[in-house]
């Protein structure tokens, strides 16, 4: 039995870490202030999914990695300049919103349409990858809905590790409560895998990979389909930054012993 898969990684974009985020109201709903100026990265969990997909594809000859991403085209182009150097993939681009105010259901719907349109896709050999949450919407819902839309009923969330056995059975390690991992064995593809951080470091930038990817990335961006206008019944009543500021007592010159004593008293709840 051939163990060659179509590994489809769904990934949005997120603001580069450490950026200051500020919501604002627009006629079409909430948005991030200066969104176009905020440097963006591939959503961190989805990026882990991509690196894991690449790692898997290398082990399973004949496998191919697709990156399906919905974001504003200009932002997507920018992120691709860095990302394309990391691992080989074929981009399927959707020109649409990538901020956290988009409904997971609508995002899943766009992704499903784009995936269904991949020529020659054999869903029985599909590994559907994504992040278990996004760093923007933080809903943790898109991948499950997408899985359902594509008829994938073996779904796993918070995955840190995957192994494909010679029989085609798929072993997965999912994060569960208490810092533990539940280990499952699924008979065969298709499966949906919502990745936590995985176990792989970020790959180095490889100029040859970049050159190869760019041959498909720019055409994919050029023919990116625009996402349908939002028809969501999701309404934001309020979007705010947490304003709570604590009165911080700063102890500058307290001796170590006194700090330790105070901490122990506090820890013990006395």
């Amino acid at each position: 039995m051939s163990n060659a898969y179509s590994i489809i990684v769904c990934a949005g974009l997120a603001p580069d870490p450490l950026q200051r985020l500020e919501p604002m109201d627009t006629p079409t709903g909430p948005a991030l202030k200066n969104e176009m100026m905020l440097p963006a990265v591939l959503d961190p969990w989805a990026a882990c999914a991509l690196y894991e997909a690449d790692n898997l594809a290398k082990k399973l000859p004949g496998s191919k990695v697709y990156l399906v991403s919905m974001a504003l085209k200009t932002k997507l182009q920018q992120v691709m300049m860095v990302l394309s150097q990391k691992v080989p993939f074929e981009l399927v681009a959707i020109d649409g919103p990538s901020n956290g105010f988009t409904d997971a259901r609508e995002c899943a719907s766009e992704l499903a349409q784009a995936i269904e349109a991949i020529p020659g896709l054999d869903k029985d050999k599909m590994l559907l990858f994504g992040g278990w949450e996004s760093a923007t919407r933080a809903a943790g819902a898109t991948m499950q809905i997408l899985g359902e839309k594509l008829g994938v009923v073996d779904q796993f969330q918070g995955v840190d590790k995957i192994e494909i056995e010679p029989s085609g059975a798929i072993k997965l390690w999912e994060r569960v409560e208490g810092g533990k991992q539940q280990v499952s064995l699924c008979e065969s593809a298709p499966v949906m895998v919502g990745w936590a951080t995985g176990e792989l470091p970020e790959p180095p930038n490889n100029p040859q990979v970049g050159m190869a990817n760019m041959r498909t990335v720019m055409p994919a961006l050029q023919k990116a389909k625009s996402a349908a206008a939002s028809s969501s019944a999701l309404k934001f009543k309020g979007v705010t930054l947490p304003a709570q500021v604590r009165e911080t007592r700063i102890e500058k010159d307290m001796p170590v012993e006194a700090i330790a004593q105070e901490l122990v008293t506090w820890i013990r709840g006395n």
């Binding site: 450490l18 950026q19 440097p39 300049m81 180095p204 930038n205 100029p207």
Partner: protein, 616 residues
Amino acid sequence: MAQVERQKLEADIVCVGMGPATGGFLTTLTKEISEHQGESYLDSKVMPGMPLQVLCYERADDMGFGVSGVVSRARGIKQSFPDIDWSQIQMAAPVKGEKLAYLLDPIGASCRSGLFKFSDTLIRSLKAVLPYKDEALEMPFIPPFMEKHGGAVFSIGQFNQWVGMNLMSSGQVQIWPGMPVEKPLVENKKVKGVRLVNQGVEKSGAETEMFMPGMDIEAALTVVGDGPVGAVGQYLDEEFGMPQGHHKHEWAVGMKFVVQLRDDVDLEPGTVFHTFGYPEPEVFGFMYIYPGKVASLGIFIPSWFDNPVRTAYRYLQHWMMHPYIWKHVKGGTLKSWGAKSLQESGITGEPHLCGDGYARIGEGSGSTNVLTGSGVDEAWTTGTQLAEGVIELLKAGKPFTKENLEATYVAKRRASWVQEEGKVAEKSRNGFSYGVIPGLIGMSLAGFSKGLLNIPAKLVAPHKRYKSLEQYFAGKLSVQKIAEIREICKKANKTIHDEIMNACGWPEIPYDGTLLVTQQDALLIGGKVQAQGGFADHVEFIDTDICKGCGMQVCVEICSAQAIAPGEEGVPVFDREKCVHCGACLWNCSQELPQGHGVTNVKFGAGCGGLHSVEN
């Protein structure tokens, strides 16, 4: 560990650094490629049947990360984009008004000379009749050579992104950020391409299981636009030397904040402020107003400011809190922060502009005009000139030899306004080697006489100028006081500049966590500084024994990001995760190596990471 083979890639043209100069080069080249698609002179030599293969490697993690705001006449830029609409670029506006102000010292802590003190007294006594307000004297006019009317204020970061995105969309070139270039590949005095840095290594450079040796990119032409402290430019300077009489002795470190101003601040976008006189007479300041009530503001610390503890960060905060600036900025929010070295030798710092297989453009090629205070437009223009030269050579089917590049690119540059105005500026700042007032007089002489008059001076490298703390602060701080401060800081293993400034009477900064933040918070809140793993440290102290005997440690004091800290036995400690790649350590090392040639004990190489902000 298994030996990993070094890979090789062939291209027609490889560019190093995606700044304004390379932007100008690639914009001109891609326009030609787009307009003449399919013509044989634009065919690739390395990939037959394909169009010209043009690659550009940028060390920063994205295009436009970590550069600064600018006011520019933008003549060259407008030539490339005759219909440029500044409103289509974020953080840009046409120049609406320019002000030049002399800032008095409202605190009394600066090391002003008697002449400055006298001027301050005189100005204050005549304030009823002078345009004096908020401890500042606004000059009635701006010298015409400094004026930027008709130009624009803009963020180089945003501009670079705009240019880069257009270039990538054209599909004619590939720009790869996050990919530092280690050095040029030089064979028999010919440049054959570049070598990228190793990846998958420890900070020490030791290989890990992820090791990937830096790839060799071979190309018929290497375009070097990696700025004033770029690794490739440095390598070429060492390899080929500088032309007779040329040197890079004058530098500055520019540090800036980007601030969201209060809603009630009514400064018009495009308003420009230039200041001098405070926090120290040697420190020049600027503030540009962008649309959306955003200001880019900062200072320059020049290499002829002889204070050996010349840390820019605290000076920047004191400058920002000067009443003349503070009235606009107070109550604002820090959006971004950054720092950069500027090569201020101008045309005197011009290296060999080309050689077999390579050409140099932009700031590292000595294009900055030190009289008009303009560099971006000049850099851009040198890039366009090289592209025009390259197109000529491609059409003629001639190779990129030194001779051919000189006959095209260099000839165009020599015949242009960049050269003409660079010559006017050539000696305009020499007076600063004697002090601020001779410097200002020299600039005026050169500016008004179009370079015919200047103050002659023999310029020396920064490391030959340093005075000791005791010498510099003579009359301000006693030798005993300085010794005490040294002892306190040594015990606490911290830099000395804060204690020195406190002793001079500078007040503590009232941190508010929003606009006035610590230097470490500026890294995270303002600069969003990050460093990826897998790369070696790009700052090295070549001979640690020299560090042990140094005693001055200007590298530690100048470090814009506190990335270089005092270490054991006087050997500084470098923390890559804080470095913003300003390169100030390179020209602020006081220890020249025994071989001479101005090479000092700090090796500043190519590394990725640094600022993650394009708001500048």
